[in-house]
Each structure stands twice: as C-alpha cells, then as structure tokens.
C-alpha cells in the first residue's frame, strides 16, 4: 500500500482525509489530490509497483486501489464492492470528440482540452497533433462522417455534428516516443 509514481518505482506514504488523497513526499511536503471517497484512511506505506495503479490503501478489510485513469476500485478479497473516482497526478482534461477508422474499426478519439490540438486514441495508444486549434464545446453527439486510415501513422478524419454540418478536416501525424514513460498518451 502507499503511493506509487508511474513508472518510477518510488513508493510514498499517503492517506485519505477530508475528500483528498494526500501523498507525503520524502521531503515531508504533502500533495493533495481530490477524490470522491468520503472516508478517512490513515497513513500507509508498503512496497508495491505497478504501471497502472497510483495508490493502494486498506481499511476494514477493504482495498482502495487508485488507478492512473482516475478510477478507484474498492474490493474485498477479489469481490468488487464499490468504485469511485479521484484526480490523479498529471491529470489532463479531455473530451470525447469522435472516432477514427474505417467502418467496423472505429476507435474513440479524445481532445486534450489544454491545447485543443492534441488528440488521443485509447486502445492503440496513438497521440496526434492537429495543425490548428479545435474550437467549440464537444459532446459525444459528435460523430465521424467519414474516416480513413491512410496508413497507421497518418490519418485523415472529418468531424461532423448533426450529420450535415462539417466542422473541419484535419490531418494528424503520430508523434514519436509513444511508449516512453512521460508521454501524454491517454490510456
């Protein structure tokens, strides 16, 4: 149990109090991450390493497993008891803006709302930068009108809203270093 930095192997102490997961750095500095957990869990630190789990705390025979994607699993043994959410480090706000791929091969595409230019696909871990800022508010009603993978690294897609209104055409290329530990791939 404790707090695990993604890909670093540094286990820090942590606890939950007043709606925050609190990480205690080696310097003693405490860093808070908001959570919807409404219980308090005392300070814990044990050795564990994972590429996908940030914190793992235990209270009253329940394990609270904080995932890198912002979800929390609450399990008793291996029985799913409940689930919740938190705001993990390096959290980035994204919007589901559409899909890419040919028919039958659609993959969800997410837009990084910080720069509104970086797009992510989830299952194949591609990160792409579009040439211009994508403006507007997005919701899942945005649907792809036509999409073709030219090759795996360069894709052309068209986002449309309401079927007829064409919002824009963008060509995006996959950036390098997709699998390095500090990349911003949405997984």
């Amino acid at each position: 149990m404790g707090f695990n930095y993604y890909g670093k192997g540094h286990i820090h102490k942590c606890y939950v109090r007043d709606g925050n997961v609190v990480e205690i750095l080696q310097s003693g500095v405490e860093v808070k991450y908001p959570t919807k957990l409404n219980i308090d869990i005392p300070v814990q630190q044990n050795l564990f390493l994972s590429d996908h789990v940030f914190f793992w705390l235990r209270k009253d025979n329940l394990d609270y497993i904080g995932l890198c994607d912002g979800n929390i699993l609450i399990v008793e043994g291996n029985l799913l008891v409940n689930w919740s959410t938190w705001t993990p480090p390096f959290y980035q706000e994204v919007r589901h803006v559409g899909f890419v791929g040919s028919a039958g091969n659609l993959r969800s595409v997410y837009l990084d709302m910080r720069d509104r230019r970086t797009l992510y696909t989830d299952t194949d871990r591609q990160e792409c930068l579009v040439a211009q800022e994508i403006k507007g508010e997005f919701d899942t009603d945005l649907a792809i009108a036509a999409a073709t993978i030219v090759d795996v690294t360069i894709a052309t897609y068209i986002i449309s809203k309401g079927g007829d209104l064409r919002v824009g055409d963008y060509t995006w290329t996959v950036q390098n270093d997709l699998r390095v530990s500090n990349c911003r791939v949405f997984v």
């Binding site: 497993i65 995932l67 699993l73 039958g104 299952t123 795996v152 690294t153 997709l178």
Partner: protein, 180 residues
C-alpha cells in the same frame, strides 16, 4: 472473453482458429526486431472493456492485441511508434458469414470477482435471451418477469448477501436473488 457480460478466461487455438465458442482467423506474427514490449493482462482487460461490442481479446505471440467483435477482428501491435508504422502488422479482418448478433437484455447483476485489479471493471450484468427468460450461464427460467436495465444499487443489495445474482421483480419491485 465475454460470456454475456461476464469475463471468462479462454485460450486461442491457432489450429482450429477458435476462442471459446467463436471462430476467427488470426495469423501468428513473428518479429524480426528485438522489441521489449509485451502484452500484459492489463492490456487484455483494458482492450476488452474499452467497448461493449468486444466479444474476445487475445494476445498474438506476445506483441499484438487481437480484439474480436461479432463481425470483425482487429490486430493491433503493441509496440513502439516506428514499429507500429509497419502496416504489415496492423490488420483488420471482416469476419464472413457471421450471424447477426443476438440482442440480449440486461435484467440484473452477478457477483463480480475481479481477476485484474488495474482496470475498472463494472459489475457483471445478468443477461436474458430475448426469446426466453433464461439468463445466460444458468439454464433455468427466471420465476418471474424482471425489470430491464435495473439500477446499479441492485448490485449493492446483492453483495450484502451470499447469493450469486440478483434481478428486480417487475410485479413486486423487490430484488430477487438467484443461485441456480
């Protein structure tokens, strides 16, 4: 592999091209490069749960994830960007002569015991065949008519008990637990 909405472990047979009850052709890939990437259980569970339409997911020779839906299969290499650029490794097959998918109805929840703690897994749904009131994996008819798409609070009622599954009785609006 999903059975109804319960995740069960299975293996892909490269001789018969079968995974569980499904048959789909997949070529064994051989790498001519040294790659450090490998498919982990997390990758398989994450790929399976990424889309409700996914029926089965399996690992192709250690460096590709094959995602099967009712009418297609995607083979997605899980490796570095320049290796990903090799189109020969990325495949999308349309499966032929596959019957239209049967639309099952969500009537309740099953006890959900996790095999992978690194992927958010929603409670397993209790699924009923539309032409009968037999729920998948049980083989017996439900004793009464269930409410479709019941609230998730029903799952929390279930885990307070030792029963295997629960559904909401349409006549009484009370949870009914089943073990058969």
């Amino acid at each position: 592999m999903t059975s109804g909405s319960r995740i069960v472990e299975s293996s892909y047979d490269y001789d018969t091209f079968m995974i569980g009850p499904y048959q789909c052709y997949a070529e064994v890939h051989k790498s001519d490069k040294d790659i450090n990437d490998h498919v982990t259980p997390h990758d398989l569970y994450a790929a399976l749960l990424a889309d409700d339409r996914n029926l089965a997911v399996f690992d192709d020779n250690g460096f590709a994830v094959c995602v099967m839906q009712h009418n297609a299969i995607d083979i997605v290499p899980l490796c570095s960007a320049d290796y990903l650029a090799n189109e020969d490794l990325y495949h999308h097959y349309d499966l032929q002569n596959v019957p239209a998918p049967i639309v099952y109805r969500h009537v309740g929840y099953e006890r959900t015991e996790l095999n992978c703690f690194t992927v958010l897994t929603p409670p397993y749904k209790l699924i009923e065949h539309p032409m009968s009131n037999i729920v998948m994996g049980y083989g017996q008819a439900l004793p009464s008519e269930p409410v479709y798409d019941p609230p998730v609070d029903l799952y929390f009622e279930l885990i307070k008990t030792n029963h295997r599954a629960v559904y909401l009785d349409k006549a009484t609006n009370q949870p009914r637990f089943i073990d058969f």
